[in-house]
């Protein structure tokens, strides 16, 4: 990547938090990418929507609760968060259950958004 080039990076989160390390690792990569002043967007689909569930308390499982980090993303100029509408519906969740402001989108619209990216990384 030549200096000054801004690419469109999309990170697709498809896994629930804590059961695997994917959600936390994705978050680390997202923050690194933002530090390079790239155009970053995040998608939460399938079980990935659980990453944004309000009220996570991880004391009992002795894991780091990384969910507050999603609220800090706008401090890194990451403001494009997209959530799959169908994934919320099939998990009994609504937009009110999420701990950050997001754009809820149909699968079809997410597909169009993906098509316009330079780099798509799925976790």
């Amino acid at each position: 990547m030549s200096e000054g080039t801004i690419k469109k990076f999309m990170f697709v989160n498809r896994k629930a938090p804590y059961g695997t390390v994917y959600a936390l690792e994705a978050l680390e990569v997202v923050l690194i990418t933002a530090a390079f002043d790239q155009d970053v967007s995040l998608v939460f689909m399938d079980d990935g929507v659980f990453q944004l569930k309000k009220g996570q308390q991880t004391k009992g499982i002795e894991n780091k609760n990384f969910s507050p980090t999603y609220r800090a993303l706008d401090g890194y100029d990451i403001e494009k968060l997209y959530v799959e509408e169908e994934a919320l519906a099939t998990r009994g969740l609504s937009e009110d259950d999420l701990l950050v402001d997001v754009t809820v989108m149909s699968r079809a619209d997410l597909g169009k958004l993906m098509e316009g990216q330079d780099v798509v990384l799925t976790f």
Binding site: P17, G19, D46, D47, G60, I61, G92, L93
Partner: protein
């Protein structure tokens, strides 16, 4: 037998396999990402509700709390802590982890 399931029902078929094979009267303990199966409004809710007539179903409370799902456990499912997990293992003749 105590059946222990730890995979999300939306990602793996471990719970489905367990429900197909497990003998009536057994117990099922949902842990880690499998606790999502115990929550109201999830796609497999009706399937698990039927299974509640054949099995005693438990879900691990610390895993529900970590995921912010402690307030939406389906009626008929008993939540247990780690001590309760140990008790369940001790109470049953054998156990199987559906990895």
């Amino acid at each position: 037998m105590l059946h222990i399931v730890n995979k999300s029902p939306a990602e793996r078929n471990a719970l489905d396999s367990c429900l197909r094979v497990a003998l009536e009267g057994g117990a099922i303990l949902l842990i880690e990402d499998a606790v999502y199966a115990a929550t109201r409004g999830n796609e497999g809710e009706s399937k698990l509700r039927v299974a509640l007539g054949r099995f005693k179903v438990y879900a691990l409370a610390p895993d529900l709390e970590a995921r912010g799902m402690q307030d939406r456990v389906m009626e008929g499912i008993t939540t247990v802590d780690y001590g309760g997990f140990v008790d369940l293992v001790a109470e049953h003749k054998n156990c199987q982890s559906w990895l």
